[in-house]
Symmetry: C2
Subunit: 208 residues, 2 copies
Amino acid sequence: MDWHTLIEAQPDLARIPAPLRADSELMEVGAGQVMFRIGDRVKSMMAVICGEVRLIRRGKSGSEVILQRSREGFVAESSLHAKTYHCDVVAAEAGAVLFFPMQSFRTALAEDMAFQNGWLAHLSREVSRLRAHCERLSLRSAAERIFHYIESEGTDGKVVLNHSRKAWANELGLTHEALYRTLSRLHADGMLHIEGNVVAVARLPAAL
Amino acid sequence: MDWHTLIEAQPDLARIPAPLRADSELMEVGAGQVMFRIGDRVKSMMAVICGEVRLIRRGKSGSEVILQRSREGFVAESSLHAKTYHCDVVAAEAGAVLFFPMQSFRTALAEDMAFQNGWLAHLSREVSRLRAHCERLSLRSAAERIFHYIESEGTDGKVVLNHSRKAWANELGLTHEALYRTLSRLHADGMLHIEGNVVAVARLPAAL
DNA sequence: CGTACTTTTGAATCGCATCAAATCTGGTGG
DNA sequence: CCACCAGATTTGATGCGATTCAAAAGTACG
């Protein structure tokens, strides 16, 4: 598998300064593999190249709560400020993860101003995106979420999807059936233009 | 109204270095007041002291999408990296907002290492919190969201609520009726201990 | 060609939203 | 101190919409 291509495809990773990148280490992980446990000492910053990594907290009675699911990019950014992990880190499916020794990461942040700026920008952007995502998930109906997605993630009432609809449904907090049905209903009602991967608002629902 | 007390009550604001704070400006805003419009030049960093501020994007057909609602703390952190606003900023209800001139803010970030660190930590923490919040909102049932909240926001299967249940319901993306009903059902089923503002997991649902 | 996955549609069910209304609570002013 | 009011809490009845289970058709890939 050509990990290099996958890494370059991620803007945040492509911008990592050479010295830090030289210190990074790629690791292939199996499905279900536990990478770190609560309380483990934080030794590195993690980025997902492929597969799915989850941060999980377990209640003592065996309940399991997912704090984060990530299929791409940095995981657990706040580990930068922590001595130990506050949750388990598990690979939900087989894939590859890039590790940056935390010491090198901190050094790069302190000495490379461009990287520091980039990291700050990355976090800010992430906060914005996540806030919008939360607002979207708070909407009660499938149609509202779809329009919210188009208006917030797209431009000019139009969005180009770069993943499958099933994955989109998952991102919208819906079952894929609900998404398919709502899309075709909105299309039939003349409220959405749908052409392949491009979805555009045609006419807005009166309710909004 | 005593804004000072409210400001000190917010850890993130209390830690703002004196010079920057000296440059800050408090502004009382009325309900519905538009503070900035899309395209306006970013001149300051904003923090909500009281009331509710919203970031809103409008489709040309008059649709309105909420990107962020904030009742406390910094709003639009990513404006630090932007020349102009990418959405409207509106006071949804009357309140007070603190403005930090962006120039002073940047200077403080560059020169005050403790502040810089604090800001980085603030953003990281926010990213973690928001990711967990998104996962919670992706859960389909009221009970699951409640347990997720307790396990992720509380400690040791127990959480102390510092806001009304109505506000909690809103945070969980539920109507207050649904929250009340689910709480009393879970209590009746012996799955939750509820005493005033303390909610604790008693026995976990088999489904989890 | 066959396998795995996505896309699509159908039918039944369940849980949450919604509308309604009563009770409780804390805080204000007379 | 009490009357009063706004808001939170609580319970009830109803309907809608998303989930769920099922299955068929389409599509990519080796």
